[in-house]
Amino acid sequence: MRYRLGLVAAVAAVAALTLSPAQEAQAQEKVFRYATTGDVLGLDPHSNNEGPTNTMKGNVYGMLIHRKPDLSLEPDLAVSWENVDEVTWRFNLREGVTFHNGNPFTADDVVYSFKRQTQETSDMSFALATIEEIRKVDDYTVEIVTKGPDPILLLNMPNFYIMDEEWTEENNAFEVVRGAGQTNFPNVNANGTGPYRVVEWVQDNRLVLEPFDDYWGKDQMMANIDRAVFTPIPNDATRVAALLSGEIDMMYPVPLQDVPRLQNEADVEVMEGPELRTIFLGFDQWRDELLDMPGSGENPFKDQRVRAAFAHAIDLQAIQRVVMRGASTPTGLMVAPGINGFVEELNTPYEYNPERSRELLAEAGYPDGFPVTLDCPNDRYVNDEPICNAVIPMLERIGIDVTLNAQTKSLHFNKIGRAEGNNTSFFMLGWTPGSYDSLNPLMQLMTTGEPGHGDWNSGRYSNPEVMALTQKIKTEMDPEERQAMITEAFRIHQEDVGHIPLHQQALAWGVRTDTVEEIIQRPFNDVDLRYVVMK
């Protein structure tokens, strides 16, 4: 008898364990559970500059101008704006807006946030680098004065997050703290004007958000969720399994090899779309002697014909088909469609023509090729190392002896970056302009030699014409003339073969169709909770 009771108890225990309480709770409220590879870096809107972190900040904090999913701009905390003169912009602020703690939003908060975000320790200071000062005109009007004419000021405004002066001061958190010292209060607590407030954040475990009842735009918002739970799941297979089992409603990125499998599932949909990041290869164009050819006194990459030979030898279609399984868009430009300044006519990749490559190499005096090391990250971009592995035989076909040096991102970026003096001859890099404007890649990737230029121009490509154009593009206020100059700069860079653009990788999101009604995919790999509708 005793044993039988034990058996009954065991069965009951198993039954209790296997019943899922999550499903019961779901009927009552709309909980959107989503997952990706890693957690956000922190909640302090002015501390980190990382795509997914910035999007999370955008769920919680308001900015003067918000960027819509199609990348166009819409009013957020500013209702309207105008140019007073070339360097002065007047912004009329929204009235009656409150922060999550109930404090009213006024012009003082804008001025305060500007001071906080422009500190040297703030990684977001780049977005406000062209601004001289922000001054309060009255409680609901501010004037932004730029250091010179700035045609892309508005494009940077979505990266300017507004904090509550009173709350920040109360918690003694004006200073943006990074790495050393005490914990930054706003990094683990949040108080914005955005549509969602942070309920709970257990780092690397879960971040729970709930709609802010007094959000000014509540009525226009398409989202209908009662709660959002964000969970980092680092392992690809686990993330796929969690989606299949219905424990989460949405996850990204879907590993490329799992895309067909998920598409065959009844209740799961894979949303694919282009991302804004352009992946490219670059060459050392400044050393007099190539690192891999010591004693020769030669750097073949200084010759445009050699660079062109490389460009014609790489079969972008094959990389797209085989390595990326179709999930990429081969490209001819250093910026993606959707970036301000993108030129459709120039977006044709270099023709794949190994025959021509061999001719060019022979003309340049390297009929038998030369040795070179390709520096490649192996944990940063989608299939980064396999792409490099695919490039190697393509180049060997034209006689180039390529050695692969694939390593983790923290080593790779140090080696090719300024930290080690651009210690590379041939490298892979990917870039999304933070401002969504072509000026940023022109400054960071395609020019060098002046402050603010060429931080990631690791091969130090340099053409005085491109530099002159870039300087003018910085301050040209007329959109058409500005576009003409951008087009010209891109054309010169393309003729010079300053870099070899490879592709824009594709986004792949896995969404459960039995719980999610609609979700808008933006060309970033992260979720703006303003655009999630549950069933």
Binding site: T18, N49, A180, G181, V202, T238, L411, R418
Partner: protein, 326 residues
């Protein structure tokens, strides 16, 4: 006994210093954390200032000295990735790992020891052959594969158990536990089994081998001759004498359970120390890495100390020697 413990603790400090120094020497090869901490738009001046602030420009011995000085005052620095003090993170993560390790160790013991005894006593029974075959699988399949298989079967196909994470926790203020809710236990089962499987098979095979060895000895024969019951012989005499090596191995294995939990935690997105260290390595988060390694070294030393003390309990001969000769 007291002197013995003191001596062991001194050894512990030495071991931890060596571990810390070796790890600092190794950190030079994991890369520069600054690039992970700042975005692509940070200027060179900002990067350099951050590097200086973090003390990364100091020579390695000085960085090590700073770490040891701070650690001696229980200050382990701020995580580069999470921006909060390391001791806070560890306090948050340690319960998750300890509970997981505890559950797996209990599973491994409660299942492994009886299975070992059974297969040792009934060498030729069909069930023993089944156990041995299964244990071969357990010992040869890598942990991540077992984990993913369990997820697939019990999480996706049967949908009985959660596939990831640690849910249903109750915060006791100083310890976040899964033990108090059904949901907590549910999420413990799969990772617990995954982590336990290797240890389970190891313990089973060890107990089996030891049992076979002991059953051949003279005193068992004498015990039989005395007409003792099978039960008294098998458990009272045979099993008890197999326990010294088993305890040694279990002690060492609990240490490696902590270490192996890296893989299990990554597969199950279990928010413990293992997941923490793997993410810290990817980010080159030096304060977390160094504190983790020192902490694990401390665990190993403590576990070995406990094992040594357990010998006294299990093996009466040690007690007598200590009392007499010295």
């Amino acid at each position: 006994m007291f002197a013995f413990i003191i001596q062991r603790l001194f050894q512990a400090v030495l071991v931890m210093l060596v571990v810390a120094f070796v790890s600092f020497a190794l950190f030079q090869f994991v890369g520069d954390p600054v690039n992970n901490m700042v975005g692509q738009d940070a200027t060179e001046a900002q990067r350099e200032a951050l590097r200086e602030r973090l003390g990364l420009n100091d020579p390695v011995p000085l960085q090590f000295l700073n770490f040891v000085t701070n650690a001696a005052q229980f200050e382990f620095g701020l995580s580069y990735r999470l921006g909060i003090p390391v001791e806070e993170i560890v306090a948050q993560r340690l319960p998750a790992t300890i509970e997981l390790v505890l559950v797996s160790a209990v599973i491994a013991l409660l299942v492994g020891v009886p299975m070992g005894v059974y297969t040792g006593l009934n060498r030729h029974s069909p069930l023993s052959k089944v156990f041995l075959t299964v244990s071969l699988i357990g010992i040869s399949l890598p942990t991540f594969l077992i984990g993913i298989l369990l997820i697939l079967v019990f999480g996706v196909w049967l949908a009985w158990l959660p596939t990831f994470g640690r849910s249903g926790t109750v915060d006791l203020g100083w310890w976040e536990t899964s033990f108090l809710t059904v949901q907590g236990w549910r999420s413990l089962i799969l990772p617990g089994i995954t982590l336990a499987l290797f240890q389970l098979t190891l313990i089973m095979r060890l107990v089996r081998a030891e049992m076979l060895e002991v059953l051949r000895t003279d005193y068992i024969k004498f015990a039989r001759a005395r007409g003792l019951s099978n039960r008294a012989i098998n458990f009272g005499h045979a099993l008890k004498n197999t326990l010294v090596p088993v305890i040694t191995i279990i002690g060492l294995q609990i240490g490696s359970l902590l270490a192996f939990s890296i893989i299990t935690e990554t597969v199950f997105a279990w928010p413990g120390m293992g997941l923490l260290i793997i993410q810290a390595i990817q980010f080159a988060d030096i304060p977390v890495m160094s504190s983790y390694l020192v902490l694990i070294a401390l665990f190993f030393v403590l576990i070995n100390l406990i094992v040594d003390l357990l010998y006294y309990v299990v093996d009466p001969r040690l007690r007598i020697e200590r009392g007499g000769a010295h």
